[in-house]
């Protein structure tokens, strides 16, 4: 394996890790505030669908005489992408509020509500998709205006000459789409919000000891709702990434393909800390990239079958969670609805 090949692998890693990262940080906000969320998958799926649907309507040119199954859009320019992202975030936040309502206001079981969100999203996206587009749950291919294309960062070609670092900058860092950079920037932002602001302190506090926070005169429910909404926004970006920033260029049913659950595993692996979340997601992204690139690996003695390579991320999840990371202690009040008075 030469250097160029390694850099290609790292570039793929970054692209595959980004949706995981969004979902992982989304879960971080929610769970740090004491709301367990296994509905990350469903929220991403809903967002992927909403953004693809709106992106298709807004971005496709108007047609005078569409044949059955062909969509006549509004032909907007760059606002199409903006509208699509807002729609994706909107759909995801709506799902998040539903989860919040069930688990904060109604004090229901958070795991069950999360499962319900996943099923709701899986069914509703296809149902609405079939009704709107008649493409078996898919959306039409998104036009370029409602997609995030690769961006070449300044000086990428100039710096290529520098050994090691130059090609790394040109091939891995540069040439990704906007949402990859947004995802990477979200990590320090999350760290700053959680550990350097009053809001973050309170958010962590309601996840550890909501009683104490309440005694201090802070509204626990409002704090938790804020966390759940933030979770919705980040899941929404993750969903938009899948439909708008990848080669999928549209929605296909169940297109999240379990990424929400991998993100959840990464969150536990990272012990609910932002920087560790980044490394966990990059690790899972790397494994996925390796399994895609080297479908059967010949290691001299025997050939590792493709099935093993593709199962690797999941095997690793089990191994990691079975104790390799030491004890992962969730926020103390996680999963427990807050009851003010008995």
């Amino acid at each position: 394996m030469d250097l160029a090949e390694l850099y290609q692998l790292l570039g793929t890693t970054l692209r595959l890790a980004t949706p995981l990262l969004f979902a992982c940080l989304a879960g971080l906000f929610s769970e740090r505030a004491g709301i367990f969320d296994i509905g990350l998958e469903g929220k991403m799926l809903a967002a992927a669908f909403a953004s693809a649907a709106v992106g298709a309507y807004a971005g496709l040119p108007p047609l005078a005489d569409p044949f059955p199954g062909q969509l006549s859009g509004w032909g907007l320019g760059w606002p199409a992408a903006l509208l699509a992202v807002l729609a994706g975030i909107g759909a995801s936040v709506l799902m998040a509020l539903l989860h919040g309502f069930a688990s904060i206001t109604l004090r229901g079981n958070q795991l069950i509500s999360g499962v319900a969100i996943n099923f709701l999203a899986a069914g509703a996206t296809v149902l609405i998709g079939v009704t709107l587009f008649n493409l078996g749950g898919q959306t039409p291919n998104l036009p370029d205006v409602s997609r995030f294309k690769e961006i070449t960062l300044p000086l990428a070609e100039t710096l290529r000459g520098i050994p090691l670092v130059g090609p790394f900058y040109a091939d891995v860092i540069s040439g990704q789409n906007l949402l990859v950079y947004v995802g990477l920037a979200t990590v320090p932002l999350t760290w700053w919000i959680l550990f350097r602001t009053r809001f973050g302190l309170r958010l962590r506090a309601v996840g550890e000891n909501p009683g104490a926070v309440d005694t201090a005169g802070i509204n626990v429910a409002r704090q938790r709702y804020a966390a759940v909404i933030l979770c919705g926004v980040l899941c929404g970006l993750g969903g938009c990434y899948l439909s708008m920033a990848t080669a999928a260029a549209g929605f296909g049913d169940e297109m999240t393909a379990g990424r929400g659950f991998i993100a959840l595993a990464a969150l536990i692996f990272a012990k609910w800390r932002p920087w560790y979340a980044l490394s966990a997601c990059l690790l899972f992204g790397l494994l996925e990239a390796i399994s895609a690139k080297y479908q059967s690996l010949d290691i001299g003695l025997f050939e590792i079958p493709v099935q093993f390579m593709q199962a690797l991320p999941y095997i690793l999840t089990v191994v990691i969670l079975a104790g390799f990371v030491g004890k992962a202690i969730p926020p103390k009040a996680g999963g427990v609805p807050y009851v003010k008075e008995r």
Binding site: P68, V130, A248, A257, V306
Partner: protein
Amino acid sequence: MNILKTLVGAAALLGSATLALADGHADFKPAVIFDLGGKFDRSFNQASFEGATRFSEEFDVEFREFEIQSDAQREQALRRFAEQGNNPIVVAGFAYGSAMETVAAEFPDTSFAIIDMVVDLPNVRSVVFNEHEGSFLVGMMAAMKSETGKVGFVGGMDIPLIRKFACGYVQGVKAANPDAEVFQNMTGTTGAAWNDPVKGGELAKGQMDQGADVVYHAAGGTGRGVLQAAADAGKLGIGVDSNQNYLHPGNVLTSMLKRVDVAVYNAFKDSMEGNFTAGFSVLGLAEDGVGYAVDENNETLISEDMMKAVEDAKAKIISGDIKVHNYMDDNSCPAS
């Protein structure tokens, strides 16, 4: 009183006439059931819908149709259609295999046809295609069009049927350019591999990073990611099943056509004329069951020489001068 009698008589006559008319049509009730993609999937299912529609327009016969929404509905839909007396019933998709085995045995007087799958029952026609022959032709085109001498293949689920596509393609590539290199990737080993365009795009990107400039997909919904990635990179993709040239005009070299519409049309027509035969039916180049697509979206991409070479190979395959190895014969591929 008399007037009343006449009226009643006329009404009865009219009634029986309509009944007879309805009966005349009711004798022949063809039906088609689509697979999960839905009838406007611009691929497999749409092709079967088009075949049924063509038949319906030509012979002025109504046909019944159903789009299933989940796997559980396969057997249900088949049985319901058979109970209602529809005959023949055509289903598209290998996933119908087990449902067909159960239901066709229960209704021995109904004719069934299944596409892409073999069900060995006396009232079932199993239609399969020589995908390796069509893939051979597009493989030749890919090799002749490629400037780097490297081409790619992205399959959906890793099953023998998809290996058959891959094997035919590789043989075609090597026939046109023996030194060419072919990168092959399968998306996965479960049904989810048909619907993961994100991964399909990544696989195509990986192959293009290695130098491939033409990428052929046989991956259903995953393929839209492959074609999109090729178009984004300014390279060429090759579509599959139905004509996908229009998806990215100028960036889809051609499409390997699988004439599912012909299979549906033939099943309906044979049944209407009383010629329905059960058993194994193979549609290859000779029967126009597979082929490649040339239309206004890709005609500038295909040179005279390519056209000539491919047409020449096509004639030789039909006459038997070129033998394209079928992966499913012995589950191995001589070329790689």
